[in-house]
Amino acid sequence: MSASVNPTPGPITYREACRQGLRDALLNDPKTFLMGEDIGRYGGCYAVTKGLLDEFGEERVRDTPLSESAYVGAGIGAALTGMRPIVEIMTVNFSLLALDQIVNNAATIPHMSGGQFAVPLVIRIATGGGRRVAAQHSHSLEGWYAHIPGLRILAPAVLEDARFMLAAALADPNPVLIFEHVMLYNVEGELDPAVIGVDIDRAKVRREGSDVSVIAYGNGLFKALAAAETLAADEISSEVVDLRVLRPLDTATILASVAKTRRCVIVDEGWKSGSLAAEIGMRIVEQAFFDLDAPLRRVCGREVPMPYAAHLEDAALPQAADIVAAARGLVHPA
């Protein structure tokens, strides 16, 4: 690993943390290259790759045609032949055009070849709502990918994960999808200088508590943490678990938290029906039923295509107030 860990001390954005991770990867391994729509000259639709074309050149930072299927397929081919491609997809809605490549090729080839072919592909995908870009750019479909065996699904929320999950993903011989929530790119903070790498296996308790577990990931983590502050004023102690890894799920950390608090709220921006939250809830019921002292609750996205109007989009997304209400209803039922 290079010594380029946060070259400019001081507050940085999530976007910058992602860029530093990419830059590290390009510096550390000549087999690494970036591919995606508008990532070169334009600097990426969320400006994550800004400046990398100038620094690394067109061989390493490649603008692609507007065909997700083609360039994700090209990434799979490159990975099969020993390269370490990092593919960016502008938004998870567009990733559906590459679903065949991801599900039928990337996830299956290592298995169908009896382990003869590895697909060390990393795909970065922007996800989530809140930017007023309506129903074709705002959904949270990472739960779909978390259904697919053969994929590892990451959801960095904190700066350290944005900065260091990529390196761990590149070290994995299997395809890894990293979902970056669009509302996090501008979040600013200090990177913990003690952290020089992260695992991509475990969920993490971000706030300890005793009355109710709030399980969240991505942007939902910060809503859960805000809710925990509000609840603390009511003397309700909430434990906030950051999933970090959506597949394979770290069930042990979830169950340990629920065993402690005996109550659980699951936050998921995805639609409730068939959601990742449903999977988590079911695992709790299967494996921690006798620890429960209240029904499970989910705070999920409303089951509508994401509205364009600001007030409607806000209403369609899980908000801290919804989490507060759900948690309070479990700890102090009316």
Binding site: R262, F289, F290, D291, L292, D293, A294, P295, G329, L330, P333
Partner: protein
């Protein structure tokens, strides 16, 4: 306020286990009443939604008083406006016609199951508490871990020495119970012309069979000889129904079933005779479980209203440490009492030879207003016959 025996005039309501809005069904325990026999759990005989608790905790009210209102289950809202009907919570000694049963809800999930969270259920088991008796503060009124732990704290507080409040949830006052026994037995001896019969029975067949049966059973399933005495008596009463019932308003009324009041002596003095309902219909193993449960609850202060005041006959069995013969006093308004002395090995003539045999003396105290000695003799002979073939009990 239900009558928990003929000698009860009033009871003190010490705890409500329901609140307005709760759904109850027949058999649910709704309140605890302090009587001279100690704390008794009151069951409801109706189904519906509790609309009003009329009698506040700590109040002593006469038997027959309205203590709560229960409405139709469908009257979900609002409780105040619902035309609730007053219902007696348990039948008095002579069962009145019960109000028409509330319409049953269509088949489906049990509407009235007490909600208990899984964690609370586990905690209650650890603390040996019946969570179904608690009122819940959790989501949808579920009993939670906190409710269970609060109940334990409450129980501990109730057991703490000088509880100066009149409300006692657990235990009984020996002096009060002595008064109750005095009243009932005094009335019995004043009013009931007793006749007494006694009969000595070879108990060898029972003991031999029991030893073999128990050998093949895990310890919790083993039977005590008393269970066979109970079952044999109950079956004999089928043959001699003239002794199973009550004497009220100058006449004998046959019992609606064979509900045997089993006399249980309490630590600290006193005794109580809760009913083993339909004793003739249960297997020996079932009866053993029922008796074990009754004894435990009688001593812990957890008897239920349906178990008191409903017996149609009483049996007293002195057991190993008792005397050879007991001549009992009938518990009014019943018309008979069967007494078993302790088993003793004595010389006995078998097939023309004197042999040492285990013997038990069974006695009958009968109400001469309701039956004659001949009838009583039939009963004792039937008990003897049944005890010679214990495998058929």
């Amino acid at each position: 306020m239900p009558a928990l025996g003929a000698d009860m005039g009033a009871g003190t309501l010490v705890e409500w286990l329901i609140k307005p809005g709760d759904l109850v069904k027949r058999g649910d325990i709704v309140a605890v009443v302090e009587t001279q026999k100690g704390a008794i759990e009151i069951e409801t005989f109706n189904e519906g939604m509790v609309s009003e608790l009329v009698v506040p905790v700590g109040t002593k009210v006469p038997v027959g008083s309205l203590i709560a209102r229960i409405g139709e289950p469908s009257e979900a809202t609002p409780a105040k406006a619902a035309p609730a009907k007053a219902v007696p919570l348990a039948p008095p000694v002579s069962p009145p016609s019960l109000p028409a049963a509330a319409p049953m809800t269509p088949a489906g999930p049990a509407l009235h199951a007490v909600k208990i969270t899984p964690a609370a259920r586990r905690r209650a088991a650890e603390l040996s508490i019946d969570p179904a008796r608690l009122s819940g503060t959790g989501v949808e009124g579920a009993v939670t871990v906190a409710d269970v732990e609060a109940a334990v704290a409450h129980r501990a507080a109730a057991q703490a020495p000088p509880a100066s409040t009149p409300a006692r949830r657990i235990g009984f006052d020996p002096a009060e119970m002595r008064k109750a026994i005095a009243a009932a037995m005094g009335r019995s001896k004043r009013e009931i012309p007793h006749y007494y019969l006694s009969h000595t029975i070879d108990f060898g067949a029972v003991l031999t069979w029991l030893a073999a049966f128990n050998d093949a059973q895990p310890v919790p399933n083993r039977l005590l000889p008393a269970v066979l005495l109970l079952k044999a008596s109950a079956l004999a009463l089928r043959e001699v129904p003239q002794l199973n019932g009550t004497y009220v308003d100058g006449g004998f009324q046959p019992g609606a079933g064979i509900h045997v009041g089993w006399a249980i002596s309490l630590r600290g003095g006193g005794l109580v005779a809760p009913a083993v309902r339909d004793a003739d219909t249960h297997s020996l193993t079932e009866l053993m479980a029922v008796m074990r449960d009754l004894v435990q609850r009688a001593r812990a202060g957890g008897l239920r209203s349906s178990e008191l005041g409903s017996a149609t006959i009483t049996i007293t069995s002195l057991g190993d440490r008792g005397a050879e013969t007991v001549l009992g006093i009938i518990y009014p308004p019943q018309v008979a009492l069967i007494g078993f002395g302790g088993v003793a090995v004595r010389p006995w003539v078998v097939d023309g030879r004197v042999e040492p045999r285990p013997l038990v003396t069974v006695s009958l105290a009968g109400d001469h207003r309701a039956s004659d000695g001949h009838i009583g003799g039939l009963l004792l002979n039937a008990i003897e016959r049944l005890l010679q073939v214990p495998e058929k009990l």
